[in-house]
Amino acid sequence: MNFDETELFGAALIGFDMIDGPFLKWKKEFKNSRNKVNIDDFAMNFYLAFRGGNAGKKPRAILYDKFYIVAFPKDLELCCLFMKPQGIEKNIIELNKIAGRIITEMEAVEDKNPNSEESDEDTIEEVKRLVVNLLNGNEMSTPDLRKYFKLSNSQIWKIVSNLESSIKIKRARKKGRAVYWTAV
């Protein structure tokens, strides 16, 4: 990404207070700014995104859909520069295709070598509670449900079958080979 100063449309300094946590110290918007970011509401999330945790690697820049932020920490403060990315749409589309391909490959590997680790009874009961809540007023397939938990295909099937037997959930429809579930 080549830097161009005209990409800069705003700057903000996020401070940190021991009682209140991160807060917006000041913000500056540059001329002709068409990009509206509600910095006041996002200050906390930016701070957490750049400085979250206590140690380890921190990001220098975060790319959002229509803007990116480059942040420079100074003691407990964080200076954020808001930028409008130019000419990177094509790269993003190509990278998205690559990511999609890798995900499919890895899912195939995972299906061949399922996680054989047994979850304890308490975890299974908690998963059941969550599945019922997820399916309340909503339809989801078994693979969709699986994405919310560290469970193999067979483990999630066992749980949904169990919930079906106890009339907590029911089959809503079938699309291709996937069964869609909903709460009773």
């Binding site: 209140d20 999330n45 957490l48 809540n133 919310y148 009773v184």
Partner: protein, 178 residues
């Protein structure tokens, strides 16, 4: 009571919403901030913060992700709360689990900060046996209010609950000072 002359919170209150995953914390945040509530569950990563203005009051609402790894940070982020709302989905299992969470919050916050419980998903009491508000209160021994956070019509009810509880904090403080 919560006018500019009397409020200790200077009309700005930190409201923390805590609870286990998928109990409706973010739905409550959306209800208060009048955002559209989608039924598809998207877990809150870390926490979300929204400012809600209501008449002369400003609520800074912190919505904490309910996953175990996020609850580890509760001690740090609850500091300064004027009220803590523990949300349960009113299922027997979750109500019992919330007991331990309430004890932990009491230890963090001490006696000065009120803790209330929202027994959410009250619309499911008849269809799938969720506990009614009174039963949740009897089990948890904490003031409990029933709610269906996905109903936009319940926004005023929730705001009134928060205002009422904050008022009581002020009354207690005044009594103590006098």
């Amino acid at each position: 009571m919560l006018s500019s002359e009397t409020s200790d919170f200077r009309n700005l209150a930190k409201v923390s919403i805590v609870g286990h995953p998928a109990v409706g914390k973010t739905s409550m945040l959306k209800l208060l901030s009048e955002n559209i509530i989608v039924k598809r569950y998207i877990p809150t990563q870390g926490f979300d913060l929204k400012t809600v203005k209501f008449n002369d009051m400003i609520f800074k609402i912190w919505d904490f992700g309910g996953q175990k790894s996020y609850l580890t940070y509760l001690d740090d982020y609850l500091i300064g709360s004027d009220i803590v709302i523990v949300v349960t989905d009113s299922s027997a299992r979750n109500v019992l689990k919330s007991k331990a969470l309430i004890e932990r919050i009491k230890n963090i916050m001490g006696k000065e900060c009120p803790i209330i419980v929202i027994a959410n998903k009250q619309d499911l009491c008849e269809s799938d046996g969720r506990m009614k508000q009174q039963l949740v209160e009897d089990i948890l021994h904490v003031k409990t209010y029933g709610l269906t956070a996905i109903r936009a019509s319940e926004r005023m009810k929730l705001i009134e609950i928060i205002k009422k509880e904050l008022n009581q904090v002020l009354i207690r403080k005044e009594v103590k000072e006098n």
